[in-house]
Symmetry: C2
Subunit: 287 residues, 2 copies
């Protein structure tokens, strides 16, 4: 039976009673759970004795004009799904519980927050790093699970954990996709039926570039970026925010995409909806 907890002090008390003998997994989410989240919860339940799923739409990581207010919320459904996937507790604090008198302390990660989404959403990753720090301190998990759909977020959190010596193991988990390849995202709910159909071009463009790289026909970031752009530009409704290819997880520009681990990452707008996706091309991927 999954218990929903709203108060930090209550959450601490429950976990303290559990003791430190049992291993604890944390799956931080903003709710509106989909199969991507559920795969994280299932993996956490397999690897840890106890699992906390946090559900918190963190205002600190939304910029002005972003979708904080219309971000989908349905806690009752989230709790049911989290329970089915193996969560022991859903930690769902209110904003006033997490930020009782605003916040004067922020955790900032430099360099790898300056590119991709970081360049287009100023302050976003400070908000992410800060709330994840809070959750790590409240829950004190042994392992924390993050989806690679947000690959830059995974890189930022791993950097933060390394730099600040958080006693937490960060587990990156593969992106879960719809049948047509679209990455699962709570924001897919915003799409009209027509937009939803068009969105399939995003994974198609990335898959195509992945095949081209594996065949040795893409050698530089510029070639890969052009290939992905050209493919996506066949859909005029789709507005490209960025397409970039960088080293992963450092997120630095590289002269070549051969024999190194790189990420091909895109952000686009379809109507009012912002969608992101990526492929991580491993060093060995280029045969």
């Amino acid at each position: 039976m999954t218990t929903t907890v709203n108060q930090i002090a209550t959450m601490r008390r429950i976990l303290q009673k559990e003791g430190r003998q049992k291993s604890l997994g944390l799956v931080p989410t903003m709710g509106s759970l989909h199969e991507g989240h559920l795969s994280l919860i299932e993996q956490a339940a397999q690897e840890c004795d106890r699992v906390v799923v946090s559900v918190f739409v963190n205002p600190l990581q939304f910029g002005p004009g972003e979708d904080l207010d219309r971000y989908p919320r349905d806690l009752e459904r989230d709790v049911r799904l989290a329970e089915e996937a193996g969560a022991d507790w859903v930690f769902a604090p209110r904003v006033e519980e997490m930020y009782p008198s605003g916040i004067r302390t922020t955790v900032q990660v430099s360099r790898l927050t300056e590119r991709l989404c970081g360049a287009h959403r100023p302050g976003h990753f400070d908000g992410v790093a800060t709330v994840v720090s809070k959750l790590f301190h409240i829950i004190q998990p042994d392992k924390a699970y993050f989806g690679l759909k947000d690959a830059q977020q995974v890189a930022v959190i791993r950097q933060m954990v390394d730099d600040l010596n958080f006693p937490v193991q960060v587990i990156p988990c593969p992106t879960v996709r719809e049948e047509d390849g679209l990455a699962m995202s709570s924001r897919n709910l915003y799409l009209s039926p027509k937009e939803r159909k068009l969105a399939a071009v995003i994974p198609q463009a990335l898959d195509d570039a992945t095949r081209e790289r594996e065949a040795g026909r893409l050698k530089t970031p510029q070639e890969a970026i052009k290939r992905i752009r050209d493919h996506m530009e066949t859909i005029p409704e789709l507005v490209i925010e960025y397409v970039d290819v960088l080293s992963y997880p450092e997120l630095e520009p590289v002269p070549s995409i051969e024999n190194r681990s790189v990420i091909a990452a895109v952000a686009v707008r379809l109507g009012h909806t912002r969608l992101i996706d990526n492929r991580i091309w491993s060093k060995e991927g280029r045969r």
Copy 2:
């Protein structure tokens, strides 16, 4: 017997073996231990089953042109003194152990770092907050002990602990003083015999203002600041960096110093040496 530990992984392993049943105190220092530090260690040893004293001269909290290179270091003596005061371990990592590849993540506390020493040492408190975060994550203490000579540091760390929900109790401890009232500080070692003698005017000026406030003759920050300044300016060798009176622990300007908790804080230079001191005037102090 006190054990000296240089590696983060070793420190973690030792503390893990101790288990979470025993309470753990941390006294973070930059070494060059004096009676002020020893009083912190003694209090920690009284209140906790186990005590770690960290000795780390943190480059991140020194600005360009500050005394990082000449800061006094004598680990052998520190370990001996820490042992006598009741420490179980001295954690003394090298800079390369704490910052193996520089650092991209910083913890920043806004507002109350903008005044007093924060205004005169840009980046100083980011460096303090960041290294204390690291130490908290490595040691995972139940309680951490800080001296009130650095009252702004105590306020910054309490704010950080509150904002980021660190599972640590911050224990502020009274300033320990030399016979003539000078606050104990590792930097007192820098003073020439003549400067050392002149330095007594700092606590004298603060004591005098404390008495004046208690007698009801100082009602505003301006009056208190002038009283302290006038007193210290009787010593021409002493260069005042700041004298300020603010609310404590918020460190905000206040219209009156009656019926509220305020801090009178000073920073001065004597020759090449920077010295700080303060008095916290409690709400009840004004009779």
